[in-house]
């Protein structure tokens, strides 16, 4: 009896959470509705499903190119932030760095810097260096939030790796580089994955910098393409819904397939003591 009640309760919670995600499912359904039925409500369900909106998005909009830009900018931002961030986090955890406390404080503060405050100087900087409308410009701008986040996360994960392991390796005659490569990195792998996923997600979702520093489809990212989605006389709700679904693909994959790493990163960022 008690067990059955537990199952019923579990089921009800899931139904409630499915209802919570309804705005997303509704957009998914809209992306598959025939054009003629879009502005008709009721009925709730369409008479048939169609991929027409996706065809239009792929053939007539810059969405595909924007996805390539977002993937490229996101991937390079992630690799850059992880490479530089890992070195810095390791140094902060294991070496004497002059002004360490002050630098760490600045980096933590850096995670809270509002983009709206740095966007105007960065805009002038991009203009002066002729980095407007380039991947490199976006990657550098994204580094402003990615790098502090990565250093903060990795320093936390590193503090969980016991120093004794490195000492043991040193006693066994392994050099620092070898110890780092064969002892630290494998232990850090889950943490690195979490930091990488969060960085990629934030880069994929970033809008303010991408909207300001891009001008053409050479560098426009997915959120910008979606925000500027063209409509001639009427708003093309079905096409926008299809484009929204494409923009949601990486977050969906992260949430479903890589949830463990995403959660770990999200919680570690907030719960680190």
């Amino acid at each position: 009896m008690r067990r059955e009640r537990g199952r019923l309760r579990d089921g009800l919670v899931l139904v409630g959470l499915t209802a919570y995600a309804l705005p997303f499912f509704w957009q998914a359904l809209t992306s598959l509705k025939p054009e003629a039925e879009l502005m008709l409500l009721p009925p709730l369900l369409p008479s048939r499903l169609t991929l027409e909106h996706y065809r239009v998005v792929f053939e007539q909009s810059v969405m595909l190119r924007a996805m390539v830009n977002s993937l490229g900018v996101g991937a390079i931002t992630t690799v850059l932030a992880l490479t530089l961030g890992l070195g810095a986090a390791y140094a902060f955890a294991r070496y004497a760095v002059p002004g360490k406390r002050f630098l760490l404080l600045l980096i933590v503060a850096g995670t809270a810097f509002p983009q709206i405050a740095t966007v105007s100087p960065l805009y002038l900087l991009m203009r002066a260096l002729e980095l407007r409308d380039t991947w490199l410009g976006l990657i550098l701008a994204n580094a402003s939030f990615a790098l502090p986040l990565v250093i903060w996360l990795l320093a936390g994960f590193l503090s969980e790796v016991p120093v004794q392991l490195e000492e043991a390796a040193a006693v066994d005659g392994a050099g620092r580089l070898r110890t780092f490569w064969w002892v630290i990195l494998p232990l850090m792998a889950p943490g690195l994955a979490s930091a990488a996923l969060l960085t990629f997600l934030f880069s994929w979702n970033e809008f303010l910098f991408a909207y300001t520093f891009t001008a053409t489809e050479a560098s426009r990212t997915v959120p910008v393409a979606l925000a500027l989605f063209p409509g001639v006389f009427e708003v093309p709700w079905g096409d926008i819904a299809a484009a929204s679904m494409l923009a949601s693909l990486p977050p969906l994959v992260l949430v479903i397939a890589l949830q463990r790493f995403l959660l770990r990163g999200l919680l570690a960022g907030a719960l680190r003591e």
């Binding site: 509002p114 709206i116 405050a117 809008f207 709700w237 949830q259």
Partner: protein
Amino acid sequence: MRALAPRGTGLVLVAPALVVLAAVTAFPALWVVWLSLQRRVPIFGIAEFEGLRNYVYLAADPRFWSAARVTLIFTVVSVGLELVLGLMVALALAGQRRGLRAGIALLLLAWALPAVVTAKLFEWLYNPAAGLVNYLLGGARLNWLGDPTLALPGLIFADVWRTMPFVALLCLARLRGIPAEVYEAAHVDGAGPVATLLRITLPLCRQILLIAVLFRTLDALRAFDLMFILTGGGPAGTTETFTVYAYRSLFQTLHLGLGSAIGVIVFALVMLVAWGYLRALGREGIAA
């Protein structure tokens, strides 16, 4: 161990990250203050120092104070609702035996979507003629994003949907860390569900709730994407936050100096809130 490390290695490892951070974070953070002291209109090549004139202008600017009011309401109401709802959802999920992963996925999805997508989702839900919201309200014809009294609640609702999962998952992590014995002991002592919630669960969640408030307040003050796309600050400025006002000044009316001044004010506000909370948390005995 540290003694074994050659001097200078640490600095070499930190240097690349610091150089990049100096260029894209520290330098812009200082430069924006300098920009805010200028009359600067890039397309006409105007750049002249004028001291605090932008700030003096803002102090007497009704649009600035309207943005202050909208930012305050948006932040307080959003964060407040997120805390209450997030805690409720966490409590519901804490006892979940089956389908926890699926439940978290459904919850986390809203948080992980780009804010621009969320804006598009809700723009469609709020459509006066064919939107699901009006349909669910029994065929109402409310113009959610076009009506000055409805636009801000509509915006806040979309923001709460997007960010409540963050609070819920933080609380859930805390709740699942509470040993079962604590609840068993309370049960043995004859505490009912309400007393258990008020006397045990909530006090144990106090710290995590404070941390959630800090993160969410900082994000709400900085929020831009959602309102920029969903309402663009309208109708009649009723959803124009500091960030939207700053952006419009910077890149639409092209007053780079004035826009930078609003940016500096957001910056100061964020740092003030962070500092205040960290002090409060420090008193609570957490080094955050």
